[in-house]
Each structure stands twice: as structure tokens, then as C-alpha cells.
Symmetry: C2
Subunit: 239 residues, 2 copies
DNA sequence: ATGAAAAGTGCCAAATTTTGGCACCATTTA
DNA sequence: TAAATGGTGCCAAAATTTGGCACTTTTCAT
């Protein structure tokens, strides 16, 4: 039996039986007592928490909390998870963000370095704050599911983005802008973009954006986005 | 160099260099040509797509599409990720929830079946809604980081939970309750629990709970929790 | 108290796996 | 045609893993 297979068999048997002695495990996996002892050490090194009680009536016990899973994820999925957790943490009061962060850190470590760079650049464009309690949230629409892939590409390649925008008064306009940042004030999401036609920053509520697409052509340059409450108070954002 | 480390080094070098010959790889990782050839076979077995061109100007090339991340996560971390995404989606307007869901589905598939059962039971206890816009959110505190592991264990094993609670008027009480569900009205989180002393359900704001710990002893029974807005209007929740 | 049952450690030789070297084949291109 | 490249089979050397043994410590039942 392969060493890896044996480790798996030991974990499975420990899960099933609750408490097991080393000799029982050795018989189960067809290895010697000494080898099983070494396997236990290896498993502990891998992060499995295995309690042991010496003496009569003792044995080994696997802490089910320490069970680990191995998943293969596409890079885009990791992006989505990261953004979810970042946004959730920023929404405040996510009791479990510490654990989620730890999980994502592990995932991030397995990504190729340039992907991590991309990811950080994208997350840098993400600014999360708290909406003022006075904000009226009665008319939130849903966000075009096509937005993520388009946004991601536009942000990472710094390409112009074209879309339809419906403002609070129901007017519809056609925009072509340089996406600079995303502002999340849960549950509202804003795109912060430089509008070359107006030579100024504009904030777009993402649930009012439709038919987004990328304009192939020259790359725009990254600008410093003023997120300061004084310079750009949240109350001045589009409703 | 470890065999596993060497495999990683080969993949990294292939990513960096685009095309590489076996001899170059061998020099890079400090192994023989023969060993690298064996490693390539092993990597292909693992699912990496490695194109090869024989002849002058040929070499090996890694298909970047075949790159996926593999991460080992603790079950608690998966829980945390799931809750984050579930809560974020429920908060509405998470543009990327589709992808995040797909990623989590993959992770879930790798969990042992009884863990999936636990997880579903835990998520069943999770009810997410929208807070009324009128809610005053000025005094939200932070949540005790010790809460997740304690809650998770209490929920899954159906054990009594004891904690200190500070109510809106600043009074502090000591509670021992049966945790039945969690109600998320972002950014507020509530614990819905049966209070045996008062023979009734109580809602506790999670940021007002401190020093949680589990009471070992008899398991409580699961109750039907009324989430209906009519039966238990959100406006009646503790402020 | 004592003995049995259990975890845990150190060491060494045997067993097994991994590695390197070699000869050789197939394919491509200058 | 010759050189450069991937690829295979085989064997002995090198490295790693395994089993066995002697030993320690802890716990529990008698």
C-alpha cells in the first residue's frame, strides 16, 4: 500500500471508529506499529489534530474540526471568493471573516505569482465603506451577471468600458469611461470611473448599469481616486 | 530537493519561461534529465497539460488553462467561506456570487458526506433577510472572534450555549440557551435561541454576546423557528 | 502496590522506492 | 546528413521507508 493511501486509510478509520489504538490501525492498514506511529506524526504535521491517551483504555482520536478538504479551483472562482469575503468583511461584523481569510490565504498561496499580482491590483481598486443609515434602499435593482467578466478584463487590462446607464430620474444615457475603482457600500455597489467626455470622475450605481462591453483600443492611465469622505461624501453618490 | 518540491519548481519554471527543454529544467531543479522526464509523466498524470515538440527548436510547454489551484482547507474554513458567500448573496447585489457558488460547490464535493450533512444543517439554521431602511446602525460593535468555533460546535452537537449579553439599555445578563438559528440582516447578525428559563425564543444581537462557551451535558432538541415577518417582524428585534 | 495496556522514542538493518547513467529510438529542422 | 530535441527500457547506486527491538512514560483495573 502506498504511503499516501495509507494515510488516507488511517484518517478514514479514525473517523469511523472514534477511538482506535495504534495496533488496531496497524492491523487495519497492514503496516507495522512503528510505521503507523510515524504516519500519525506525519498527519499531525499536515495539520490533523489527533488526540492521544496513553494507558489502559487509551488510544488515538481524530479531532473532526481539523479535517481538511482539497479542492481544485479555477482562478476566476478564487477571484469571486476573494471579493465576496473582502466585501463581507468590509460590510462589517462578519463573525467568521478570520477563518474565511485564512482559507483564502491558503488558496492564494497556490496561485501563480502573476495571478496574485493581478488579484491584488483588482482588490486595490476595491474600496469598501459603510452606507449612512439615512440612505434609502427601497429601489435596489439586480446587477447584470455579465458585469464581472467584463469588469475584470477592463480593470486588469485598463481598457475603456462602454455601457448604458439609467439614472435616478429614469433617464438613460450611453457612457464610455475609464473604470478606476469599485466602491462598495453594502448593499450598494458603485463603479468609480473617469469620464473623458466630462473630464471628471463619475460614480455609477452598478445595478443601474446594463449592456457593458469593452472598447478595444488604447489603454487608459490609472488615476488617483479620491475616496475621502470630505472630498467625495457618500451622501453625494447617486441614489 | 523533495520530489513534491521539484514538481512545483518544474511547473513554476514552465510557467515563467513559456517553452523549456528538458535539459534546461534538469539544470534548474538540480536533477538528471531522466528524472525530469519521469516528473513530466507524473505531472501529466496529475492533470497538467504539457505540450511537447521534438526536434530542433522544440521543447516543453505548459498549457496555462490546465493550471488550477489546489488548496487544502480546514472544514471550518469552508464553513466560513460558505457563510460569507451566502450572506453576501442575501445582502443582495453581489455581482460575482455565481462564480463564488461554483467554486464552493467544487469544494463541497470534496468534503466527506457527513460533513456535507452537517454543513447543510448549519446552513439551514441560517436565515438571511434585509434590514428595514429605518434601522439605526450607529452602534454596531464587533463580534467576539471566539464565536464561530463555539457556535459551530453548539449548533452541530446541539449543546447548550452560555454567554454574557449586553442589551440595548446597557444591562448585562448571563444566559444559557439552546441555539436554534442564525438570522442575518446585514450588517447585523442575530442568534435565535430558545431560552429554557423563559420558555420562549429570544433574539440576541451577536455583537452584544461575549464570553461564549458550551455547556457539556444533554443535547437539546431542534425546534421550529418562526422566521415569518408576520410572526416575528424584524422591527421587533433588539436594537 | 502491581501488572497490563496503551502512547511514544531511538536505533539499526532490511525492504522498497527513487534516481542517475547509459544505450537507443523517433522526429524535426538547418 | 547532422544536430537538437522528446521519449523508453534497463540496471545499479542512492535515498527513503519500513519493521523490529529495546526502552520510557502514563493510566487504569485489580
Amino acid at each position: 500500500m502506498n504511503i499516501r493511501t495509507r494515510h488516507d486509510a488511517i484518517v478514514r478509520h479514525l473517523r469511523r471508529s472514534g477511538t482506535a489504538t495504534i495496533d488496531a490501525l496497524a492491523a487495519e492498514v497492514g503496516a507495522s506499529r512503528r510505521t503507523v506511529l510515524r504516519d500519525i506524526v506525519a498527519l499531525r504535521d499536515q495539520g490533523f489534530v489527533i488526540h492521544s491517551e496513553p494507558g489502559r483504555g487509551g488510544g488515538l482520536q481524530l479531532d473532526p474540526q481539523s479535517m481538511q478538504t482539497t479542492a481544485r479551483l479555477a482562478v476566476a472562482e478564487v477571484f469571486a471568493l476573494l471579493i465576496s469575503v473582502a466585501a463581507m468583511r468590509a460590510a462589517g461584523h462578519l463573525p467568521f471573516s478570520g477563518l474565511a481569510d485564512a482559507g483564502l490565504a491558503k488558496i492564494e498561496k497556490t496561485l501563480p505569482p502573476e495571478k496574485v499580482r493581478d488579484l491584488r491590483r483588482f482588490l486595490d481598486c476595491l474600496h469598501v465603506g459603510k452606507l449612512s443609515p439615512a440612505q434609502d434602499l427601497s429601489d435596489i435593482g439586480s446587477i447584470d451577471p455579465d458585469l464581472l467578466p467584463t469588469f475584470e478584463a477592463a480593470f486588469l487590462d485598463r481598457l475603456h468600458l462602454r455601457f448604458h446607464y439609467h439614472d435616478a430620474k429614469g433617464r438613460q444615457t450611453r457612457r464610455e469611461v475609464e473604470p478606476q475603482a469599485m466602491l462598495i457600500l453594502p448593499p450598494l455597489w458603485y463603479l468609480v470611473a473617469w469620464d473623458p467626455a466630462r473630464a471628471d470622475f463619475r460614480h455609477f450605481r452598478m445595478d443601474r448599469i446594463s449592456k457593458p462591453n469593452i472598447v478595444d483600443g488604447t489603454k487608459f492611465r490609472q488615476r488617483h481616486v479620491p475616496f475621502d469622505e470630505d472630498v467625495c461624501p457618500y451622501s453625494s453618490l447617486p441614489r
